[in-house]
Symmetry: C2
Subunit: 299 residues, 2 copies
């Protein structure tokens, strides 16, 4: 286990658009990692499934060809850059674990280029044009933290962001920041009527994880319109990546439609201060929460 330097550190989120050209997506993202590192980011997070367009808009078995092993070419490329720049990188991949067994995963690379570990998306959505249950087996590694060179981080993925349980368990494992690589957007036909409320719910629920747990939350979404099925209306990814502090206060917020780097300092003293003033962890009723492991409490 590597020792964590107990100093503040800067995190960087990449908010990017992705094309149908897989090689180009990786090349471009590697370049953005370099930019973020130059700006001082020490822990850098990419958007969910950064390597391709959001392919879950249809169920097509040939698309499993997009998957890669944890030690596949994408991760290897980011390992090199991590080592060169001395940064930790959260690389979200479509993970091929075995023939016919796939996950939606984060590979956490440390600043020496080694793979620190893997988080596999625990909560898998399934919605029109977000057919993830077809592609991704639910994670079997539980909720996790990773001791990077710079700090102890937790990572989750997209749909996980709607579950207070995932945030809580990751925070209870000592995470200073919860990273949420994300691919969320609007159905174009719904945007005008429901768009604002949907986006606001998404921001609110994630800020609430920061508040409830006294941790930083950093959510990296993609931007751009992607239509991978001609007969369907496609998805407008809503960007709006953000970082908030342990009281839920915005530190950095991105646009809805521009490629950007968001930076923020993880201030360990601020975590301590907020938790002293809002001592929620002190008063949890752990004797009364066992029902959380039930599907529903029918009476």
């Amino acid at each position: 286990m590597n020792k964590i330097k107990k100093e503040n550190y800067t995190i960087g989120l990449l908010q990017l658009a992705f094309s149908a050209d897989i090689k180009d997506n990786t090349k471009k993202t590697l370049a953005w990692v370099e930019k973020a590192a130059k700006k001082g980011a020490k822990v850098i997070c990419l958007p969910e499934l950064y390597r391709s367009q959001y392919f879950c808009q249809k169920e097509d078995s040939s698309l499993f060809d997009l998957a890669e092993a944890v030690d596949g070419p994408s991760v290897t490329a980011f390992q090199k850059v991590a080592k060169k720049l001395k940064v930790s990188i959260i690389v979200p991949i479509f993970e091929k674990r075995a023939p016919g067994l796939y996950h939606n995963s984060n590979v956490i690379i440390d600043a020496d280029g080694s793979v620190l570990g893997v988080y596999r998306k625990m909560h898998i959505p399934d919605d029109p044009a977000f057919y993830e249950k077809y592609y991704f087996t639910p994670g079997d590694l539980g909720f996790k933290t990773f001791k990077t060179k710079y700090g102890k981080i937790g990572t989750l993925i997209c749909w996980d962001q709607w579950y207070p349980e995932g945030a809580r368990l990751t925070a209870l494992k000592g995470a200073e920041v919860l990273f949420y690589p994300t691919a969320i957007g609007w159905h174009p036909s719904e945007k005008e009527r429901y768009g604002k409320a949907q986006q606001d719910s998404w921001i609110t629920i994630q800020r609430s994880h920061a508040i409830a747990n006294g941790v930083y939350v950093a959510s990296a979404n993609r931007i751009g319109f992607e239509q991978t099925v001609k007969e369907q209306e496609g998805i407008i990814f809503w960007g709006s990546s953000f970082i908030c502090d342990p009281q839920g206060v915005f530190i950095a917020q991105a646009s809805e439609d521009k490629e950007e780097i968001l930076l923020a300092e993880i201030d360990l003293t601020h975590i301590e201060t907020i938790r002293r003033n809002w001592p929620f962890l002190r008063d949890r009723r752990i004797d009364a929460y066992e029902g959380i492991t039930k599907r529903f409490l029918d009476e």
Copy 2:
């Protein structure tokens, strides 16, 4: 068990100021219940510990005299009004359970005037000028719902609002609305610097319970400046009571400093629609949440 009419119903929150005159507080609150009922409210919720000023600003054993039994004079008075007006009322009391044993409780009165049940505040805070751990034994009844004549409601109290676990467990028991009688305010010396962020965190965490669980959330706070200890600066209660829908969208919002009634319709079809579109309950990983019953997951 009484049968619930599966129809929409209107709820009413009372946002009030309270004086040092205990009799007057009850009399006045009874009058506001009548007003709310006239406006169509069928389930009416009072602010936390409505009967007195917020006495927890100091630790003083004589203040236990303020406590009343569940079948004490306050509840009896509200039972009469409930029966007369055919409304259900959530009456938050300082409960005297036995000599030396006190709780911060909600008594839920049904529309026929009967006492449906009691909820005892599960999470007890303790902060300068909010010395609740001195007065209130943590609840031993767990998280609860109540089948009123009009609908199935859940009630929690104030500090509970910071805990996603309490909201989740109450929602899993079938609550359509989570009511949070509350007494929260600013230390005057902190208001300018921290006030906005504190209030915003309070609103955000409660809206997140609506979003995560697909339920209405209704939070009733008091208003006014109360200084029960001369040598201390007192508390400015921040009002801002609100009701939001199952997607966290505000339906009704009160001022910071006026006595008001907030009304909203609980639309059962809307709950169904939101939960179909945001099927979070479907995808919970109940096989992976057991750590929630631990204090911390030290590694």
